[in-house]
Symmetry: C2
Subunit: 244 residues, 2 copies
Amino acid sequence: MTDTIKLLKAHRSIRRYTDRPVDPELFNELLRAGQSAATSSFIQATTVIRVSDADIREQFVELSGSQKYIAQAAEFLVFCADLKRNQVRSGQAEEDFSWAEQLITATVDVALFAQNMVVAAESAGLGICYIGGIRNNPDRVSELLSLPKLVYPVFGLCLGYPDQNPGKKPRLPLEPICHQDKYAKTEQFAGEIDQYDEFVRDYYVARSNGKLEFTWSEQMKKQAATQSRPFMLDFLNKKGFINK
Amino acid sequence: MTDTIKLLKAHRSIRRYTDRPVDPELFNELLRAGQSAATSSFIQATTVIRVSDADIREQFVELSGSQKYIAQAAEFLVFCADLKRNQVRSGQAEEDFSWAEQLITATVDVALFAQNMVVAAESAGLGICYIGGIRNNPDRVSELLSLPKLVYPVFGLCLGYPDQNPGKKPRLPLEPICHQDKYAKTEQFAGEIDQYDEFVRDYYVARSNGKLEFTWSEQMKKQAATQSRPFMLDFLNKKGFINK
């Protein structure tokens, strides 16, 4: 196993940071590492908004569901899928960027960039936390950051030196995750996933001193029983995505 | 700069591989590294189909636009966004997974997993190439791999030991990529992007012995002038994604 694989396998989200800032040259190296990820047909559709303004940070804390580490972390970044830059530079019409396919390529571009940046950061001793909660209110995020049409906020990212050392969250076993030559039905892995469910329950019980007690499958049930940001399709359409 | 950052910055897509296979234990370590990436609300929505069957490989070569390295690489993987597993385990209805928001979270999950796996692979001396071309014909991919509703093929990935050493493709300068506190219009970076355009033109001229000669902006224009997989929205809807 390489040192890099060890690093990847040691990932945990960090939700408490020290006051130590990120060196500006290191920060630029992280961006360059992000940019070095593959990009679909060279579109380079990632724009990172670095939020330093304390007032804007506080608004992100609130709209993301009181995630206070957004204000506390040395850096808070908003990763945007940006087809506006390509539209401007191409001289083509906005409608030429409204295909569902382009939402996929742009979103994947952003995620590959961000994950490279995360790995680079962790290799330098930083901790990170992705903030999907910024999609609780994408209209407000767009307003706060002046995002034009063809730019949408995919997720936030906290970066800073860790001030905690949480345990690693257990993942599904490999059998249900990697299939051979064709898709294998979930029911085939009932035994493995049942066992994993028990493992997850034990993990939560231990972590919460008995206050939390649920399996992975129970969590998935609870989530699915709630509407999943039902405003998202309208928002994306308004921003010029997936209109066709 | 850490060794891992050096590794990330050295990434190039590899399109020719030696015959050397990937050790099974290393392959499993790559999967575990992939799984260790962050996952939105613990959904773990990635399923990897490992395609070993030579006939299926050949069909992927053809449908992806004659990318012969798909047949040649030691491993060819199809990364799927999989909400079916969660639906089965949750006992909820398929419609509970049809929100646009869930397309985003599942797609991001897959990309973070894949990029971790790519970094792990490169750290072990392997080369990789993402294959977005599998989305040329998502219906046929679905049939070939028996993908059910709530599972869609996001991209393919070739993995193997490199038998070539291509140059690094130049990326946009940092100024237009990372903005401070609010989105900055592309026009503000006209000078930087014009300069980059010339750089990209020189890169292509050098790489192709003068046969290719275009800037980044020209490439973006050419792409935007072509319909971008116009069948994708219908396909996704049929698969149970973004119905609402």
